[in-house]
């Protein structure tokens, strides 16, 4: 084990999978000569050549269609969508092609296709480069949605996504690229669809996704000083969603707070809350609390942007409210 950066282990995962399987190739904007806006594909063109690390024109819709076509034809494309905010440009291909062709063509085609993207606010990137839009994709049957919060999860899950025979939306976070964590030297793969308990606790379950896991862990430290023990559950993959781990945790703590960076209204937290209400109601001692971004566009100003998404203080307040 050694401490390595999130962005570096994503790159390691790409290298390992490209070395293992010659059908794996990368395409996207700025990934080849420049090495990726977030440096994940740095110098991969020198290792694998421009036929396997391809700069594309700024044409998100056709990039997505081409990746889908290549997947059907036997490749395992990994498409980098530089900002999640631009994913609307790919939606027709994701919603009307990628998600459903395996089903409607009755299994005649497989779509081993990964769209890597990154979302999240607090980087002063303003309203068109800061959003968290995962709920759109969780709503569509046929697309897996992965959202790792640590370098360990990022590497193991990206390798799993590349080996998966289905379309996978792999959501990174712009603030996580520069975080470090323990990652084994030897190869490992993590299962898609399995949550991870990032911190054990007994008083309240906090279900947190992506960068909000870090906020939840900070909240846990502070709450511990006050004698409150929270269990931080990171779903890691939203589709498929690991209900079982959430259920076991809530049966233990009898309290649930959900926190994500996406807007609260229509966010995936609502789905998690509904699952808890439908299937775990008898375990609850208090109503489920959801934390999400305020329902406004993400503003630019340093005076405003930090107010839009939840932070550790919001989580601490929510836990205390739940335990009242």
């Amino acid at each position: 084990m050694s401490k390595r950066f999130y962005k570096d282990v994503l790159r390691e995962a790409l290298i390992e999978e490209m070395e293992r399987d010659s059908n794996v190739f990368l395409l996207g904007e700025d990934i080849e000569v420049y090495g990726g806006a977030f440096r994940v594909t740095e110098k991969l063109n020198e290792m694998f050549g421009s036929m396997r690390v391809m700069d594309t024109p700024i044409s998100e819709q056709a990039q997505t269609g081409i990746a889908i076509g290549a997947a059907i034809a036997g490749k395992r494309p990994v498409l980098e969508m530089m900002y999640m905010d631009w994913i609307g440009l790919t939606l027709d291909q994701m919603v009307n092609q990628a998600s459903l062709l395996h089903y409607v063509y009755d299994g005649q085609v497989k779509l081993p296709f990964v769209m890597r993207t990154q979302g999240g606010a607090r980087a002063s990137a303003s309203a068109q480069h800061s959003k968290s839009l995962e709920a759109w994709f969780c709503h569509i049957p046929g697309i897996k949605v992965v959202s790792p919060s640590t370098p360990y999860d990022a590497k193991g899950l990206l390798k799993a996504a590349i080996r998966d025979d289905n379309p996978v939306l792999f959501i990174e976070h712009k603030l996580l690229y520069g975080t470090r964590g323990e990652v084994p030297e030897e190869e490992y793969i993590l299962p898609i669809g399995k949550a991870d308990i990032k911190r054990e606790g007994s008083d309240c379950t906090v279900i947190a996704t992506s960068a909000m896991v870090l906020e939840a862990l900070e909240a846990a430290e502070e709450l511990e000083k006050e004698g409150i023990s929270i269990e931080v559950v990171d779903p890691r993959t939203l589709v498929p969603f690991d209900k079982e781990t959430v259920k076991e945790s809530i049966e233990k703590t009898n309290h649930a707070v959900i926190v994500h960076e996406a807007w609260k209204t229509g966010g995936f937290g609502g789905e998690i809350a509904a699952i808890i209400a439908e299937e775990m109601f008898d375990s609850l001692d208090a109503p489920v609390i959801r934390l999400g971004a305020k329902d406004c566009p993400i503003p630019y100003s340093p005076g405003l942007e930090p107010l839009t998404v939840p932070n550790k203080d919001d989580i601490i307040a929510a836990v205390k409210k739940s335990l009242q």
């Binding site: 044409s59 819709q61 056709a62 889908i68 076509g69 059907i72 092609q97 063509y105 005649q108």
Partner: protein, 320 residues
């Protein structure tokens, strides 16, 4: 051009396509084929002629109006009709509809109900063939309306830039939905748009199967040589309106009549050609017509007699 047997087969496929449309229209009225059905009466030469230039391992992406493409690519008529009726014996087990028929075995991948929605996928096929050093070709059918989509520009730019193994075949049937071409196209010839991508563009008479074959053969040969995509625009006419749900009123009778004369009708023209070239006698033509009708009748019977899928398959195959 092809040998006499293949020419006869192509003629039969055109008649099969036409009779299929009328047969399906009857079944739709009877409630046995449901939903909107998009028929290609008058456009048989393009689908049948272009697909005749491809092998089974060349892949085609189709449109919402793909019956001539399916027949042209040699798909089994029984399984096509069964799919149109939502039966378990259909190409996609009844999950697809007439719009989304696919056959991996025959290289039809596949039907697409979103205008221009499959062009990027087609370029993905062509790119893969090129990456693999193969001379396989992907041909994407589009309508005139599709040439106004953003995908058209994005995909053609990339196909041209990377010289992928593609042919883009536009069936210009004069209408995008209910809107006539002169009210939705900024150019008279869609092939003019090829110049924007630095690729060859050609406009042909889409009701002349010989012209269709000649243009497609050249484009396919170019793609096989690794020289990149060609844009073919075949001018034809959509005789029966947009779909079975079309209430009409926007295609004048004079216009329809002008496209359905013996001089314009693609099937009558091809029959005349075959007789002039001594490939067929009048009796041969009548025999092929009868065979085609018989095939269609049998396929409709097969579809009607087939069962609907078992409810157990509903939630199967969402993920691989």
């Amino acid at each position: 051009m092809f040998d006499n047997d293949k020419m006869k087969l192509l003629y039969k496929r055109m008649v099969v396509t036409r009779q299929l449309e009328y047969g399906i229209r009857e079944q739709h009225k009877a409630g046995k084929v449901r939903g909107p059905v998009h028929m290609c009466v008058g456009q048989e030469a393009t689908g049948v002629g272009a697909c005749a230039c491809l092998n089974d391992d060349d892949w085609v992406t189709s449109t919402h109006r793909g019956h001539a493409h399916f027949v042209g690519k040699g798909l089994d008529l029984n399984k096509m009709v069964a799919e149109m009726m939502g039966k378990s014996t259909g190409y996609c087990g009844g999950k697809a509809s007439h719009m989304l028929i696919a056959s991996r075995e025959k290289g039809m991948l596949g039907g697409c109900g979103i205008v221009c929605g499959a062009l990027g996928i087609g370029v993905g096929y062509g790119l893969t063939f090129k990456m693999d050093g193969s001379d396989r070709v992907a041909l994407s059918f589009l309508g005139d309306g599709a040439s106004n989509e953003g995908m058209f520009h994005e995909a053609l730019n990339m196909a041209a830039l990377w010289k992928t193994n593609n042919v883009i075949f536009v069936e210009h049937n004069m209408y995008g939905l209910t809107v006539r071409a002169d009210r939705h196209l900024s150019v008279e010839n869609i092939s003019d748009r090829a110049a924007a991508y630095g690729i060859p563009g050609v406009s042909i008479d889409g009701n002349d199967i010989i012209a269709v074959i000649e243009a497609t053969e050249e484009a396919v040969a170019r793609a096989r040589r690794g020289e990149g995509p060609t844009l073919i625009e075949a001018k034809t006419y959509r005789v029966l309106g947009f779909s079975t749900g079309d209430k009409g009123g926007y295609q004048s009778q004079e216009e329809i009549d002008s496209w359905t004369t013996p001089e314009k009708d693609p099937i009558i023209r091809f029959a005349k050609y075959l007789q002039e070239k001594g490939i067929c006698t009048e009796a041969d033509i009548e025999e092929l017509n009868a065979e085609a009708q018989n095939d269609v009748d049998k396929a409709i019977q097969f579809g009607l007699e087939s069962p609907y899928p078992d409810s157990s398959v509903l939630m199967e195959g969402i993920f691989a």
